[in-house]
């Protein structure tokens, strides 16, 4: 199983000091967090993509290319790549290039984006969100698999004799996840292609996540990619930990109460009960995370949100130490013990990462 972190990249004032980091500080902090993730033994670092303040990560492959140079082992991913408003041709090229730079340590997650104005800013219509995701991904899928593409669709200019360059590393495209909170069409899309399905999970009740993953698994089998339990599932999670759970609650509460997404709404206690948010001891995080398996079955990737709501870099790095030292090793062992034979341990890694020559193994 793969464990990692995903960042939204929000620039949020620290409610305990009132200080807002500059964009430059936030970007540099993101790089430090990514390096730390590898240092503490995590498997995945994923960045969001946003095109409006107060978010900084508008250029994910610039960030991930830089992180690739500073790391050795960690998989670089996205959470999410906007398949609706980006040109699929540019996604094909950017991420194939990143694959080469990172020697195959790349996968990515498609998402639609939920900020209304971003669509018109990029010349698109949010009412066509699903249709854009479907058409653009169909094209992207071909661009990575066919050397010369003739194509015509509704949303971009036609292509005649087009070759996306560079070609995917060793001819193997990056593994793709499709992320959606509530659209069954996207679960269907992931299932249709036999790609991974990621549910953000945080901010939502587990019952909802369970329903979406269940639909994906069932359709994955319907489309002939394997048994439902062999589908590739990823979940988000959100934690804040201290040795004593009371200390964790006391320290995290002001960040929770003022958080951009859920702040000034439900209490910390209500929200931790209703959603997967866990604020407490490492042992509580272990138990809660193992509980996700009860809802969705054995799954392949767990990403935690660790660096939002204005938490200072120092605190985030401490959290990553706890995650890497006390939580993930236990989770790896427990999940491995529970996972039946025949269920994939993780999302497929690129052959270059596994040290295999794809031509020999295929």
């Amino acid at each position: 199983m793969q464990f990692g972190i995903f960042t939204v990249g929000d620039v949020t004032p620290d409610p305990t000091t009132g200080r807002t980091p500059s964009e430059h500080e936030r970007i540099k902090a993101t790089v430090a967090i990514a390096r730390k993730a590898e240092e503490v033994g995590l498997d995945v670092f994923a960045t969001g993509e946003h095109h409006n303040p107060p978010f900084v990560p508008s250029s994910p492959t610039t960030l991930l290319g830089h992180v690739a140079a500073l790391t050795e082992r960690i998989t670089l991913s996205t959470s999410t790549t906007l398949i609706t408003t980006n040109d699929p041709v540019k996604i094909a090229e950017d991420y194939a290039y990143l694959q080469h730079i990172a020697d195959g340590r790349v996968d990515l997650m498609m998402g639609r984006g939920n900020t209304g104005p971003v669509y018109p800013w990029f010349g698109k219509d949010i009412r066509q969100g699903i249709a854009l995701a479907v058409e653009n991904y169909a094209l992207l899928h071909r661009l990575w698999r066919e050397d010369v593409v003739d194509w015509e669709g509704k949303f971009r200019t036609p292509l005649q004799g087009f070759t996306a360059t560079p070609r995917p590393l060793d001819g193997v495209p990056p593994f793709v996840w499709h992320g959606s909170i509530r659209s069954p069409e996207i679960a269907e899309q992931a299932a249709y292609y036999g790609d991974g399905f990621f549910h953000n999970n945080i901010f939502w009740p587990m019952s909802h996540t369970k329903k979406m993953v269940g639909l994906y698994r069932q359709r994955f089998a319907h489309h002939g990619h394997g048994a439902p339990e062999q589908a590739i599932v990823g979940l988000g999670g959100q934690v804040f930990m201290r040795k004593n759970s009371q200390d964790a609650v006391r320290e995290f509460r002001p960040y929770f109460d003022n958080a951009p997404v859920y702040g000034h709404g439900p209490s910390l206690e209500d929200f931790t009960e209703q959603t997967p948010l866990t604020v407490g001891s490492p042992q509580q995080v272990i138990e809660r995370t193992l509980g996700f398996r009860d809802a969705v079955g054995d799954y392949q990737r767990q990403l935690f949100l660790m660096d939002h709501a204005g938490l200072p870099l120092k605190t985030v790095l401490e959290q990553l130490d706890i995650l890497g030292e006390e939580v993930v090793p236990v989770l790896r062992e427990e999940f491995a013990k529970l996972r039946p034979a025949g269920v994939p341990e993780a999302a497929p890694l690129h052959p270059a990462v596994l040290g295999r020559n794809p031509k020999e193994t295929s």
Binding site: V134, P184, E185, F203, W204, G265, P266, Q274
Partner: protein, 203 residues
């Protein structure tokens, strides 16, 4: 989905804030009227949703994007009802903010084709057209089937006939109840099959 046997689900949403409230009083009178009209062998199961009890979960849902459990149950009850009675007090020339906030949390297509009886309460009969210029368009947008008679109860209606030139409150309640019962009895549901529609995307 409408069933031809088993109980009929009648759901009542009351946005009154007082305890007891005149909106609830009106809701109960209308409920009895509908129940009487529906009486014909089938059991009528009545679920009352008091929005006052859900005020905090409603506000939280607006912030977080998902309903806490008691609110989720209320939304399920409303969207699964065979018929709906919606009663709001008139606040500042319209339905109350709490009433609208609750409806804002219901999926836009979840009330399509649903028989609805709209009613309102107020201190004076001068606000009675709120039913026609605020509530009826709201439910028209949601593609609900709103019965022709909307029931408005001003304070004076509780004390007698009010205006001698119009029907009394009990008359209006009885007529509206009859209309809702007729609509509920004749309703044939056609719910969209989501799985089929989704699969078609990739066909």
């Amino acid at each position: 989905m409408t069933q031809t046997s088993g109980p009929v689900n009648l759901v009542v949403v009351s946005a009154g804030l007082g305890v007891p409230s005149s909106s609830r009083l009106l809701a109960d009178r209308i409920t009895e009227s509908v129940r009487r009209e529906l009486a014909g062998g089938r059991e009528v199961r009545v679920t009352v949703v008091e929005l006052r009890d859900l005020a905090v979960p409603i506000a939280n849902n607006l912030v977080t994007g998902f309903p806490a459990e008691p609110l989720a149950d209320a939304i399920d009850a409303v969207t699964g009802a065979d018929g709906l009675i919606a009663v709001t007090p008139v606040f500042t020339a319209s339905y109350s903010g709490l009433f609208k906030s609750f409806l804002d949390l219901i999926e836009p297509d979840a009330l399509t084709g649903k028989p609805v009886l709209i009613a309102a309460t107020g201190g004076t009969a001068r606000h009675s057209l709120v039913l026609e210029h605020a509530l009826r368009p709201l439910f028209a947008y949601l593609r609900a089937l709103v019965v022709p008679t909307a029931v408005y109860a001003a304070s004076e209606d509780w004390g007698g006939s009010g205006d001698p030139m119009t029907d009394t409150l009990p008359d209006r309640i009885a007529r509206a109840g009859r209309e809702l019962a007729t609509l509920m009895a004749s309703r044939t549901a056609a719910e969209p099959d989501h799985a089929t529609a989704t699969a078609d995307l990739f066909a």
